[in-house]
């Protein structure tokens, strides 16, 4: 029977953990510094981009024209998005307060998105599905969640990057809503 004897380690063996760790750090470091900078959307104050998207839960399409006539909150979300889950209760609450909330399902699979809404509740009047993210590009969306506030004339008035459940984001959003509606939400 062969006995296993542990010998002195070679140089490479001893340095291997350090090498692996260094590679990981470099990868992570590069990743975090290449991050796109936060800039306010150039679309604020402009009409919504022209687009047309299929709906998630029924037949039909949603287009830029459908924003006219009421104040709308366009919430960009995806089932794979961790922060969307965090903000979802607040989105529901905003919807309950009477705001017209439209969902924009971003780079998602239809079944995943539908399951997500069944499990967590669906606060959206309508949900449009942007599976390949083309329309999102026109909106200047580069991640989820993002939320746009659109006024009665179809003009983008405010944009939230990150979860609306974040206190500062929430306060700014509410202030923006109050400003354009004059109501006490």
């Amino acid at each position: 029977m062969t006995e296993i004897k542990q010998n002195n380690k070679s140089m490479l063996q001893r340095f291997m953990p350090l090498i692996i760790f260094t590679l990981l750090v470099v990868l992570l470091g590069v990743g975090l510094t290449l991050n796109p900078r936060l800039i306010p959307s150039p679309l604020i104050g402009k009409p919504v981009p022209v687009f047309e998207l299929p709906l998630l839960n029924k037949e039909g399409v949603f287009s830029s024209e459908d924003f006219k006539g009421q104040i709308t909150l366009l919430n960009v979300w995806a089932s794979w998005c961790y922060a969307c889950r965090q903000e979802h209760e607040v989105v529901k609450q905003l919807a309950r307060s009477g705001l017209n909330v439209i969902g924009f399902n971003y780079k998602d699979k239809k079944e995943d998105a539908q399951l997500w809404l069944r499990q967590l509740g669906n606060p959206y009047q309508l949900v449009m599905a942007d599976e390949d993210g083309r329309a999102a590009m026109d909106w200047g969306v580069y991640g989820a969640p993002e939320t746009f506030l659109i006024d009665q004339q179809g003009i983008i008035r405010h944009k939230v990057i990150g979860p609306v459940s974040d206190q500062q984001n929430y306060d700014e959003l509410i202030a923006a809503i109050k400003k354009i509606s004059g109501s006490n939400l």
């Binding site: 029977m1 380690k9 975090l32 209760e89 609450q93 990150g162």
Partner: protein
């Protein structure tokens, strides 16, 4: 005044930590007895001052001192006392203070309970721990001062995140941190041993009980978090594979590998440098967990980019701690020679395999957690690494792990014969496999191989574990507490596997729309909805549903799920409070959905067989760990 006192105490603790981190280390190198002797009193002084800082912050919470920014952000006038005290660790700054306090508690504990340790080694251990403290104090003082004041002073504060207003979660972070930070002891012992160049089996003996205690806390902390998520989030799930959970699971997996590897090193003198590496890795995972949760990369990588100070600090700290200890390892481990010899068929090999499997699992979780963050940060799109990935990975990993769990403890050290093992285990193997497959078939009438294998795995672990226990009794041999702890922890694993298998297969869930007075049947239980009433809590308004549950006409439970709105400065924060009727063999679970019309509600109803076994199993593992460290063997080491 009090907050300033707290800040002042924090600065003093920082200063003491620097002295404690440098002087004894230099003393150990120069063999200077005075400098070495400084380590202990410095550790105690540091503990005193960080406790004062912590007490000052707690006091500010208790007396509603809203001039302290952190207090005003995380408590308000109506918040109950319990959640004002737990509010201290409700968010970033206070969590870091708690972390520093716990690190100091561990350091002091080491200085008191390891009196048998040679002075030089003790000095090195306490110094290494102090150097970690220095990093955390600096982090607080430069990027996250918990005592920062605001002016004008607000009349009332913002509420603590309502998610955190639950007894289970209030206790969750301290337990988790006790585990995370506890791995710093094994880390410090490993680094001290590398520094001293004496990597013999004794360092394993000294660090083993500390590691087991830390592991027990971590197990308990994770279980609490899971139990809380189940009760509080209203989705009926117990584990979501979200990055925060993974951040605590990775140190647990490595820590589990570490306690097994330490056993081999202590008893047989094998895997010495491997164990050192694991000790470094376990604490690295704790730090990484802190980085993931605390840097903001989770909420969004964008958040990280906007306020990078904190994230970058932790990242650099992480690099310094892990990088320098790995460099030290590369430099010093060449001198380590493992003395024990063993053949490929022995308990040593089984424990090594256990380590390999657990580290594979860690790697799987690591990739699944970090990859989406990296891809997102690189701006090359978004990918989802969700439940299917993790579930598949774990199904693959758990098969060899479960098999090994049955075989390993039966095997002898050094060398065992395969005939003996096959002889003693083949019957158990056949029994558990056939029972596992047949049982669900009898109950359910459907042959389900995945379920069968899961149950067979649970039975296999349970029977083999009971078998070695029984053999010890029959042989009339000594039964040390550490052995009993191992038995209990392994049985806990069996209970856990059984619970997970049952819930995954036989879980029933339904979203239903119910009018008051109407009923719905789920898994043979009849749920009768009696409508919703308004309830007022100390700091929330709730709509509370009432459901009666009937089993064959007989009423067995009342459920009162709530939908709460916590008051906070005109921004009511909504929360779901599920209601659960727990029995050993099943949970009935109800959560409020949305109001539909005037009186009807959407409700989520669940039938969850044996789900409590999951937490019961974790509890058994925790107690097993506690039993193991209570063993007399460790106490004799004290003089």
């Amino acid at each position: 005044m009090i907050p300033e006192l707290g800040l002042f105490a924090l600065i003093i603790a920082f200063g003491i930590a620097i002295v404690q981190g440098v002087v004894p280390l230099v003393g150990a190198a120069r063999n200077d007895a005075t400098m070495i002797a400084l380590a202990r009193p410095a550790a105690w002084a540091q503990m005193l001052f960080v406790s004062i800082a912590y007490a000052a912050l707690t006091y500010s919470f208790v007396v509603h001192d809203f001039s302290v920014l952190y207090v005003s952000q995380h408590s308000n006038l109506v918040q109950p006392l319990m959640y004002r005290i737990s509010g201290v660790w409700g968010s970033h700054e206070g969590s870091m203070l708690l972390w520093a306090l716990i690190l100091s508690i561990w350091t002091t504990a080491v200085s008191i309970y390891s009196r048998g340790l040679p002075n030089v080694l003790m000095a090195r251990v306490l110094s290494v721990m102090a150097l970690i403290s220095v990093g955390f104090y600096a982090f607080m003082l430069w990027t996250s001062n918990p005592f920062e004041r605001i002016f004008p002073v607000p009349a009332d504060g913002n509420a603590l995140n309502p998610l955190l207003q639950d007894p289970g979660l209030a206790m969750h972070p301290p337990m988790l941190y006790m585990g995370y930070v506890g791995f710093s002891v094994a880390f410090a012992f490993a680094v001290a041993a590398l520094l001293g160049g004496k990597l013999d089996a004794t360092w394993a003996r000294w660090s083993r009980p500390w590691t087991t205690v830390a592991w027990s806390f971590l197990t308990f902390g994770i279980a609490l978090g899971s139990w809380w998520a189940y009760n509080e989030l209203g989705w009926g799930g117990w584990w979501f594979w979200d990055p925060v959970e993974n951040a605590s699971f990775m140190p647990w997996l490595v820590g589990t590998a570490l306690i097994h590897s330490l056993a081999s090193t202590e008893k047989r003198g094998v895997f010495k440098s491997w164990t050192v590496l694991l000790a470094i890795l376990a604490f690295s995972m704790s730090l990484l967990g802190t980085f993931i949760v605390r840097s903001g990369v989770l909420v969004s990588v964008h958040a990280f980019a906007t306020d990078p100070a904190r994230g970058v600090f932790i990242l650099i700290f992480l690099c310094v701690v892990i990088g320098s200890s790995l460099a030290l390892y590369a430099w010093r481990s060449g001198t380590v020679v493992s003395t024990g010899r063993f053949t490929w068929f022995s308990r040593e090999t089984a424990l090594l395999l256990n380590n390999i499997i657990l580290l594979t699992a860690t790697a799987a979780v690591f990739v699944g957690t970090m990859y989406p963050l990296v891809v997102d940060a690189l701006g090359i799109g978004k990918i989802s690494v969700g439940r299917p990935y993790f579930d598949t990975m774990f199904a693959l990993v758990s098969i060899p792990l479960i098999l090994l769990l049955g075989i390993g403890p039966v095997m002898r050290w050094k060398n065992d014969s395969s005939e003996r093992i096959i002889k003693s285990l083949s019957i158990v193997f056949a029994i558990s496999l056939s029972l596992g497959i047949v049982l669900p078939f009898i109950v359910d009438g459907v042959l389900n191989i995945a379920t069968g294998l899961g149950l067979a795995g649970a039975l296999w672990i349970a029977i083999t574990t009971v078998q070695i226990f029984y053999q010890r009794i029959k042989a009339g041999s000594r039964m040390p507490l550490s052995f009993l702890g191992m038995i209990l922890a392994h049985l806990g694993m069996a209970a856990f596997v059984a619970g997970v298998t049952m819930v995954m297969t036989y879980n029933q869930e339904k979203d239903v729309r119910l009018e008051p007075g109407s009923t719905y049947e789920l898994s043979g239980y009849e749920f009768k909805f009696n409508g919703v009433k308004n309830v007022t809590g100390p700091n929330y308004e709730a709509q509370e549903g009432h459901l009666e549950v009937f089993d064959q006409g007989e009423k067995i439970a009342d459920l009162h799920p709530q939908k709460r709105a916590y008051s906070a400065m005109g921004n009511p924060m909504p929360m779901t409070e599920a209601s659960v009727d727990t029995r050993l063999m099943r949970d009935l679970y109800a959560a409020m959905g949305e109001p539909l019309g005037d009186t009807a509600w959407s409700l989520r109803l669940y039938y969850k067989p044996m789900i409590s076994w999951i937490w019961l199993g974790c509890l058994m593992m925790t107690v097993g760990g506690v039993l193991a460290v209570s063993d007399r063997r460790y106490r004799q080491k004290r003089s």
